[in-house]
């Protein structure tokens, strides 16, 4: 091995020996969920507005579209929501569901369309986001 090759090798091994502890720390932080955030801490950063209710006569299902605004600086995905079916102010039914593929970017608005059971005498549908997932978990 000549001097030039040896210098290159030493330089490479120097980079590796510097990066390895940093990567190990990052990996440990990742495994312990350090980079994950809890939706509960960001609940007040979201707003929800009803856009449309599609109640087809022959269908057993009502399709409702909401506009969701994410005022947080994080991207979110995998929504767990609850829809309250109301007759005036009385809550007559609640339904929970999950849409794994739903996503909303930081500072953005996006639509959320949900399907609920059609019930008699319902005058309003209120949607509450129960949980969202935010994760920048690295996969190796």
């Amino acid at each position: 091995m000549n001097n030039k090759t040896l210098k290159k090798y030493m330089s490479f091994s120097g980079v590796i020996s510097t990066l390895l502890p940093l990567l190990s720390i990052a990996l440990l932080m990742n495994l312990t969920g350090f980079f994950e955030s809890n939706y509960d801490e960001y609940r007040d950063k979201f707003s929800i507005e009803l856009v449309a209710v599609n109640d087809i006569d022959d269908s057993d299902i009502v399709t409702i579209t909401y506009r969701v605004t994410n005022n947080s600086w994080r991207d979110w995905q995998w929504i767990n929501y609850q829809v309250l079916h109301k007759n005036n102010d009385k809550i007559v039914y609640s339904s929970n569901s999950i849409i794994p593929d739903w996503k909303i970017d930081a500072g953005e608005q996006t639509l959320l369309t949900v399907e609920v059971e059609k019930l008699p005498n319902i005058t309003a549908f209120d949607l509450t986001v129960q949980d969202l997932r935010n994760s920048i978990r690295f996969s190796l």
């Binding site: 509960d40 609940r43 007559v92 039914y93 339904s95 509450t128 129960q130 949980d131």
Partner: protein, 85 residues
């Protein structure tokens, strides 16, 4: 708690549940107990809900469907188990 008639022979009880803890609770297992007006138990119904969850220091609603008309009954929800995270 509200009891509602959804359709013929289909009823539901809606409970409001408050979480006063600092933990998120999910994976609910419960027992619904219906009693008549002299406190005799006339119906019990077991159930679970893996989608339902409640954030810390918040409230959520839980709807349980029944195939029996709840005449002269009072209802109690026993939470058998919850997972926390």
């Amino acid at each position: 708690m509200n009891v509602v008639e959804l359709s013929e022979n289909e009823y539901a009880v809606v409970f409001s549940i408050k979480n006063n803890s600092n933990k998120k609770w999910h994976d609910l297992t419960y027992q619904l107990i219906g009693s008549n007006n002299i406190d005799e138990v006339i119906l019990t119904q077991e159930g679970d809900d893996s989608i339902w969850l409640i954030q810390p220091n918040s409230h959520a609603f839980l709807t349980i469907k029944m195939n029996r008309k709840p005449l002269n009954a009072s209802w109690k929800l026993l939470i058998r188990n919850l997972e926390s995270s």
